[in-house]
């Protein structure tokens, strides 16, 4: 497959995952605002932006509704839903011939949906409905992709993009939240605290999954264990890393070249770190550093993928 195409598929997928993450975290935050807890509105907003990895520090305008509107519709703001959907579509448009027609139509519909005047009106009526319909659109796109696209290299690059973005975003979010939630486990569990914890799980659609594994007894360390180390839950970082590993294996398998040890080692290291760690170790050690390390390693894997599959030098390729 053309390197440029692999690159576009990868970013199409990353952007959509990012859009979904923004939409979901915003939705949860807006719901949490309904209960006047200990955290004030502005502080909560800042925490949201930080956990979305906000690079620009959006100015606080005093009105949560207008801020939320910007975070959805401002196409100049790099973590806004619109920016990400635009980015995904632009990438898809450049590889129109690689994805299935059904996928393209799905994404195109999502794009037109978010740009229609109707979307603004719907947002004013019910933020929750508007965000849910975006997330639904993305889920449909992913489902359609899984069932209509050839599961070859292109599809593997889509998986790579989605799960690398997800692992990175989840680690970022946990890093932001852990200060409050895990640094003071002795803090009394008022009703507000419970809502905060459930909110954190909902940011990763993890509430129901958590309850199946641990019952509805919501405890910070178990949440961390679930979101970091669970093997079967698709938003847990360990699951993401396993998927990344299998995607790369498969790309190597279908391609003519052997991956260099660097990539295998890079992923293997992160994979081992999550497979063999226990939550007790992580909590007694420097939790923040552990989470930060995960992000660093995700970045490193991204670079290696680029160096090997996308931006390689001609000399190195001719020598083979």
């Amino acid at each position: 497959m053309l390197s440029r195409v692999a690159d576009s598929l990868y970013w199409m997928s990353r952007y959509l995952e990012r859009a979904e993450n923004t939409a979901r975290q915003l939705d949860v935050t807006m719901t949490l605002m309904l209960d006047t807890g200990s955290v004030d509105v502005e502080e909560r907003w800042r925490r949201l932006l930080k956990s979305l990895g906000d690079p620009t520090e959006m100015e606080w305008s005093g009105s949560i509704d207008s801020m939320a509107r910007e975070l959805v519709f401002d196409s100049a703001y790099p973590i806004s839903v619109t920016f990400c959907v635009n980015g995904a579509r632009e990438n898809a448009r450049q590889v129109r011939e690689e994805i299935s027609s059904e996928q393209w139509q799905r994404l195109n519909r999502l794009f037109h949906q978010i740009h229609s005047p109707h979307a603004q009106a719907q947002f004013s009526n019910s933020i929750n409905e508007a965000l849910t319909s975006v997330v639904d659109g993305i889920h449909l796109f992913q489902g359609v992709g899984d069932s209509t696209m050839i599961h070859g290299q292109g599809w593997q690059f889509i998986r790579l993009g989605r799960y690398l973005e997800r692992a990175y975003a989840t680690a970022t979010m946990l890093e932001v939240y852990q200060e409050e939630l895990f640094a003071h486990p002795e803090r009394d569990h008022s009703g507000y605290q419970y809502l905060e914890l459930v909110g954190l799980l909902r940011c990763c659609t993890a509430f129901e999954g958590y309850c199946q594994v641990y019952t509805a007894d919501i405890l910070p360390d178990r949440i961390l264990e679930f979101l970091l180390l669970n093997r079967d839950f698709p938003h847990a970082i360990r699951y993401c890393v396993e998927t990344i590993r299998s995607a790369i294996d498969s790309i190597q398998h279908t391609g003519g070249r052997r991956s260099p040890d660097e990539i295998t080692a890079g992923i293997g290291r992160l994979h081992a770190m999550l497979s063999f760690a226990t939550i007790e170790e992580i909590l007694t050690g420097d939790t923040a550093a552990f989470l930060h390390n995960i992000r660093e390693q995700c970045l490193r894997i991204h670079e290696l993928i680029y160096r090997y599959y996308v931006h390689y030098s001609i000399q190195s390729a001719l020598a083979v």
Binding site: M1, L2, S3, R4, Q94, S101, Y309
Partner: protein, 486 residues
């Protein structure tokens, strides 16, 4: 079926004047042409709002499939769907057979002309065509001199524009021998029409066109360099900002070949490679949708980043086929066009089956004086332009525009030709809720590999504005499906 009111046949027609232009649907006395009867009756039998409903469904389908083109020079709404008219244009089998013969003859002669000019130039030595005319052509490429192209095919993909005059006869308005576009609209129009009028389509026994992509692939394969039995064929696009980008992706997908941009290609030792996730892969045939000028910065425009450095040398070495060949624009120059009937006579010793439009060459003194005196009656065109740019339509122009053109003609007469303003045929279109006539042309697509193939039909382009004579999509034109009957 809905129980709504059916439209009476007469109430279906809006402003539908019949004058001296040929009407595709009606005879001069107003009666329906026999082969349009079934269509007219079908339309009349539909409930009043049904046509609109189908039109909206079709448009939504275009939008959702991203079947759009890009309009240059506008910031917002740069992506638009190609306006689409719901009613098919019908062409009888006998009419088509003649078109097919005529185009085959014409393309054969044009290809022989290119081969001749870029090798021995006999036609110039025999003074059939003035050599100044050929060598002063903007699209003449001296780099092509003496270069052997595979199977001697210069123009593998051609789209010629035909008009029907008031005699009912088809004439050739121009030949597009560089990178003709629009074929994807022909194919998608058909797919949507089959959904919009399924029974009607079936009852007409329309000849199929869907195998175009397969024929194109076979054509490209037949032109592969020697000794490459399993050629790697790619489509080279200028990229996502090109107005025909949708078409490039569509064709690549239909043929199952890679769509590459210049930045995907590298050359090494006169071999072209593409960058893939598995390393460099050799490229054998390039279906080029990038203009000559932008194809190779080492040979053509050095400021272009769209092409691939070294491509031309690899081509010259015979290691890669690029089609259409470079320099083919020479033969669709609007002044050279005037000599196509002479070429047909010269190379094939035949009379042309499809006539030309009368053309005045402004480099000739007599012609120029006549044209300058009659600017208000003629159409003036720049010879190297396409897409409806650089054109003066006399009867619809202002005195100021005519003055401006007169000045440009005096300054550079070789750059312009003039033709009579043609009253070409009109076909019924759905305007609002009514049928009204609009001017139409026809662009059939010709494929030239080991043999010449023309799928029956082509793109019928419509000047959707009332009274307008310009059908180009960049100038507000639309399209409709073309049904060639058995």
């Amino acid at each position: 079926m809905s129980a709504g009111h059916s439209m009476e046949l007469d109430s279906l027609y809006g402003d539908y004047p019949l004058d001296h232009a040929f009407d595709e649907m009606r005879e001069a006395d107003g009666t329906l042409r026999p082969y349009y009867r079934a269509l007219a009756e079908n339309l009349a039998s539909l409930p009043a709002d049904e046509l609109q409903r189908r039109k909206q469904a079709a448009e939504l389908s275009f939008l959702n499939q991203g079947i759009t083109f890009t309009v240059y020079g506008r910031d917002e709404g740069t992506e638009r769907i190609f306006p689409y008219d719901l009613l098919p244009r019908l062409i009888t089998g006998a009419e088509w057979d003649r078109i097919e013969l005529g185009l085959t003859q014409r393309i054969t002669a044009l290809n022989l002309f290119l081969r001749d000019v870029y090798s021995d130039a006999k036609i110039l030595a025999d003074k059939i065509i003035p050599s100044e005319l050929v060598y002063s052509c903007k699209h003449y490429r001296r780099q092509m001199r003496g270069l052997q192209v595979p199977r001697n095919v210069y123009i593998a993909v051609v789209g010629s524009d035909l008009l029907r005059l008031n005699t009912g006869e088809f004439v050739v308005l121009e030949d597009n021998l560089r990178v003709p576009s629009g074929v994807s609209y022909m194919l998608t129009n058909r797919r949507i029409m089959k959904r919009t009028f399924p029974q009607l389509f079936q009852s007409y026994g329309v000849r199929p066109i869907e195998h175009y992509s397969q024929l194109l692939l076979a054509t490209l394969r037949s032109l592969a360099p020697e000794g490459r039995p399993e050629p790697n064929i790619v489509l080279l696009t200028p990229g996502v900002f090109n107005s025909a980008y949708f078409e490039h992706t569509y064709l690549a997908r239909q043929m199952g070949i890679d769509l590459v941009e210049g930045r995907d290609l590298v050359t090494h030792d006169n071999i072209v490679y593409m960058r893939t996730t598995d390393g460099l892969k050799r490229v054998d045939v390039i279906y080029r949708r990038v203009d000559d000028d932008f194809s190779d910065p080492l040979v053509f425009r050095s400021d272009s980043a769209l092409g691939c450095a070294g491509l031309f040398n690899a081509y010259r070495a015979g290691n890669v086929t690029v089609t259409n060949a470079f320099g083919t624009g020479l033969a669709d120059d609007k002044a050279v066009y005037a000599y196509v009937p002479d070429m047909i006579k010269y190379y094939l010793n035949e009379d042309s089956i499809l006539p030309n439009v009368k053309t005045f060459l402004l480099s000739e003194d007599k012609d120029r004086q006549h044209v300058l005196a009659n600017l208000d009656k003629l159409v003036v065109k720049a010879v190297g332009e396409s897409g409806g740019y650089g054109m003066l339509i006399g009867p619809q122009s202002s005195a100021k525009q005519r003055e401006e053109f007169a000045r440009q003609i005096e300054a550079n007469p070789r750059n312009y030709i003039a033709q009579p303003t043609l009253d070409f045929s009109r076909a019924p279109c759905l305007i609002g809720n009514r049928l009204e006539p609009r001017h139409v042309d026809l662009r059939p697509y010709v494929l030239f590999g080991d043999r010449i193939n023309i799928v029956p039909g082509g793109l019928t382009r419509v000047a959707l504005e009332k009274g307008s004579l310009v059908v180009n999509s960049s100038q507000g034109g639309g399209s409709k499906d073309t049904w060639v009957l058995q």
